[in-house]
Symmetry: D2
Subunit: 384 residues, 4 copies
């Protein structure tokens, strides 16, 4: 009998974990694969929601932890965090000797995974390439595509784009997005927990019958403006006086602007209907989303999971520019009035239809199957 | 009057220096540009030809030296060298605050320049993107294209390829290759120096009337085979008994195989007609090439400068695969007999015609002019 | 005329800055010295009080900023932070080419300064060696003494200890502690500002007639116990119901335990008389201390500045073990009752007499004078 | 039954390996100890004799390899090599979770071991502290003593010195030097191999009846002079025309000067009686030494092993200043004539008497026994 293929998955942040959880589970369950789970960067840190705790609660063994976040929350620190990530991950890969390394999406520090693996001649799989946004993620995402050997993309347009980038079509697979797998599970579930009791957090504890959810991240290349941006949203929500659950942003150059903006606003304003959470399991978060009236902010959850769930979204600013949309999104600028009006419209409208633009809920299984069968290779040539 | 634009050029290896020397000179001379020259990696090291000495002799002031080569000469060390490069270069960019950073070609460690600059929101120019080879350079080169904001390519087919990669055509410029600028200068020159006296080296000192030149680098993704490869070439040259000037390879994962192969062969074989050089100024090297009967190996000089000069080339193995060729190249495998036969053919044939497939000798000036006029930007979106 | 000596001072944390501020000022003012100020580590970070802001407000030009704090707040991160510090500081020293490097006290990351300087053959001056505490600082402090070429110690017993460590007596100088220079300035000053207005912070705003001050840091080698320790202090203060100003701890492995302890206690308890500050200029902090009834915690300010000022101190736990004391300190264990009783005793007693055990207020000037006259050397031999 | 204690030994260079080999063997054999062997820095590199190959041939399993030598061979690179060493070793210690870490002697990069272990609260044992030389090693050695918890010293005077440094006498053990254990084994052996055949090397192959051995390292703090120093020795040996075996220096800032000096001299001079070796097993080296007429250079082997073996030594320059001597050493300056005269004197004299100043040949066993019984602790206070 053949030795199992060793698949190293590197998770660097809370949102990335949700985005690959079902793939990790499917790799673990697959009879011909051996999972090597590496948790790195902000996924290990309290300040950014300690994804590591959820990973452990989900029953996954962690094979290596890589601390590489250099404090500073400026652009230089982002570069250096990536440099340290390469130093550390190359040691980890040397120890674990994976057959394939899997990297997820487009956060700046995922480049460290891609470089360490490709420079060490380890076949590299990339989940969620081929999408279009419009900030530093854009550069990172497509650069990783050019370093990767296998592409597990989330939509047809992403597949086309990766092929146009000169990748061999035989190694570009539209598996759908694993995050939709999770959405599928919660679609018919109820809100079977008390979020205030289970997750603490600060602020008011509004009634959970009809509520909004907010999740807004800083946008890297508009660093200076992070604080102004978040203030528009804060004012809009403050004005509406609708019960609101607000989720803290994850780390990024600029987090300071956003986080400071929220803290400062809370010092001087009541925000009587708003509760702030630092973190939550993906499942519980989706259950809350699924029962909410509308998601506000710039999270990709609004574009992906909410498309499948049919949850209305007010998407603010440029962060999700050019990503495929289902039937549920209203785009607005960083402007209090626009945000308010869009929220009110979304609440009045009928619930949007579900869309499978990002997959049908079996992406994790598809990815594990492919990882067990793709030919091992780390050598490629552009197709044109 | 406007402040001059600060242009930081990062040189990481001896061959890269030759490839940008005229651009560096043109930037220095340009009335609206201020040159910030950064010398890094193997360009600083004795073992790899100390490009830094030539740079200083050429009269360029060096604004920062970055030591980042981690010893080991294995693939892990290549990854870590890149990680350290990011740590160091981000500090340098923080200090120098360039308006544009220029990175050259596709060596693994150039990725450090590209990541540090792009993550710090500094506009990034890439010289010599869009070409096709077939090893790790291939991944690196196109990944850097996806991180870069301006593309100074060396041929029409390279330009087409960069545009196909989703880059905005307005920012892709076929300047030709600056290395051709140097070739132009020496085309009509004579061999006005004694290479043995000027550059030392070891081995025989054959007569310089009719001679061959050899330059063969290890190929990263065939690491294990480096030694076997070089031995085929050594045996072919040994058999032919034609006067030969052999140039030591530059650093790369695998250098050990190649270098050890040469050293070991010399211990046990006479190589009566072969002299070994560790390094030489680009100018003198081109003069020697220009007067030689044939260049053997896998150096890109054979593909580029020799196309312009009309020097016959026997190109061995996969390293220059799919790069545009002039009229001067015969491709062979790692095989003593094939190599011998090809050399004999090339010597018999008439001197090949000159080709401007890699430019007409004014690339440096064109690049400097563009650097002084392109709009400053570090934000882009894929074109499809 | 001779070139001025370039003196590089590396400041890595808020408390270290207070401890060398007058030396920095005296170096800046000295006609034969040129100040090169380097701000590094937690001194640059919001979370730890942004010493950098005070440094700039004090009118000092910063020659280099070194971000080297690796997030994680565990012991591995402390080691790695030091490693990154060496990488970065050696580049800075290479650029600035100081004649002497000055490092302060005994925080773990100061070892990076000491190693970078001594390995680069730059004469190294150490301020505040020779003292005795009883944690990792103890190892760091004496190891730095063995790397340093000049020793500017703060007391006679420290001087004796450094000499016993095998250092040449000619290069061990009892200058007193520069922090006493600052205390001297505020000794006769009044509380001329409203701390709530000037520094914000959270919690109650008790009357500032008769108040306590608390400052308690985690103790590295009792990592697990940090939270339990702080809770004893929290309960003691909560019970006493005396107006209290509480200062947030600075970074250290274990900060999490202490910080989390404070945060958690505040969630569930009123602490009606307590206000929490994140940071304050050294001057204002000393003014507050000078007018306070008692300082509680384990800060070295209690041992040093308060000795000179004659402020009563309740010193908790092992952190200041074996440091010289004036007439003002009562030592207690991590125990709510002991802490309470000691505070009540200190409040009842007459104000302690001033002591010059840590210097008479001219340490900064003495240090600058010595830096201008000591022979430059980086070579030494143990004296026995 | 109790779990075995895990003992991590970090070997960073060829000479350090010889110095702890019997301790490593004894730890491996000890019923209550589990060996964790870490090979790092120049011990992994071809250029410096690949200690790693000998370690593997000796049958030791290697638990981690740490590449941390940054190329440059200047002082900045030495500092950075140490910084990278801390980054890497802290990861290794995190993975292996040793009960005690063992570091050897005083090379600059051993500081990385000491800092990583002590900062991570792992008990640290130091072999060969307390000695006196007179260069950067001097600073490093005593600084490591101040970081270490257990001291395994090689002589009575070293023991006294460590105690004077404020270490608790209960934790300072004169075990003798493990290198003497090896010398004991070869003392009665014959030259049972042909060194030219077994180890290759370059140069003449003089008869091995009556021969000299040379081993001279660069001295860090006289960096500029390395080349001049080695030339004096080269000329002295060249003049004497006595058969000579010359051993290549190991890495150090300055290696370039020494190595370049040797290479250059060989280009222009015949050195008809000299053979150059790059490396040799410790055993074979000692057998050669034991049968030689005299050792020339500045290796500590001359001071230690040769004291026990009774081999005459001409010790050049300051590198071994103030180390205890047996009856076998003649000290000279960097001066061709002095060196020649001293060699001739040593050859004429009777063979010196054996001395046990560095131990009686059972140091390895003593160290292993102590490691199995010392109380585990990482907390200490200076004794005065």
């Amino acid at each position: 009998m053949n030795r199992k293929r060793k698949i190293a998955v590197v998770v660097t942040a809370r949102p990335s974990y949700s985005r690959v959880k079902t793939a990790i589970q499917a790799i673990k369950n697959h009879p011909e694969l051996e999972l090597q789970l590496i948790v790195a960067a902000s996924a290990l840190l309290d300040r950014y929601g300690s994804a590591v705790n959820y990973i452990e609660k989900d029953g996954f063994e962690i094979h290596a932890k890589v601390f590489n976040v250099l404090e500073g929350e400026n652009l230089t620190a982002a570069a250096k965090t990536t440099g340290i990530g390469i130093l550390e991950l190359s040691t980890v890969f040397d120890n674990l000797k994976p057959d394939i390394v899997v990297t997820v999406a487009d956060r700046f520090e995922t480049m460290a995974t891609a470089i360490a693996a490709s420079y060490m001649n380890i076949p590299l799989a990339h989940i969620q390439g081929g999408e279009v946004t419009g900030n530093i993620d854009e550069k990172v995402r497509h650069a990783i595509t050019k370093l990767a050997d296998y592409h597990f993309v989330a939509s047809e347009s992403a597949k086309e784009r990766v092929i146009k980038l000169g990748e061999e079509p035989d190694f570009v697979y539209n598996t759908g997005c694993p995050s939709i797998d999770l959405a599928k599970d919660v679609q018919i579930s109820n809100l079977d927990f008390d979020p205030y009791q289970k997750y603490g957090g600060v602020g008011a504890k509004p009634d959970l019958e009809k509520y909004l959810v907010v999740m807004q991240h800083p946008v890297t290349n508009e660093y200076q403006d992070s604080r102004r941006h978040i203030e528009e949203t804060l004012k809009a929500i403050d004005d509406l006086k609708i019960p609101t659950l607000w989720f803290w942003p994850n780390v990024d150059a600029g987090a300071d602007g956003t986080s400071t903006g929220i803290r400062a606003y809370r010092e001087f304003n009541k925000l009587e209907n708003v509760h702030f959470f630092k973190n939550m399991t993906g499942d519980d978060f989706l259950k809350l989303l699924n029962k909410s009236m509308c998601l506000i902010g710039n999270s990709s959850v609004g574009i992906r999971e909410c498309a499948y769930l049919g949850v209305p979204v007010v998407n603010i600013g440029s962060r999700q520019n050019k990503r495929d949309r289902g039937f549920n999104v209203k785009d607005v600028d960083y402007n209090k009035e626009e945000i308010k009006q869009a929220i009110l419209k979304q609440i009045e409208n009928a619930r949007p239809q579900s869309s499978d633009v990002y997959g049908g809920g079996d992406a994790g299984e598809k990815i594990a199957d492919l990882l067990s069968t793709v030919p091992l290779k780390f050598h490629k040539t552009i197709t044109y």
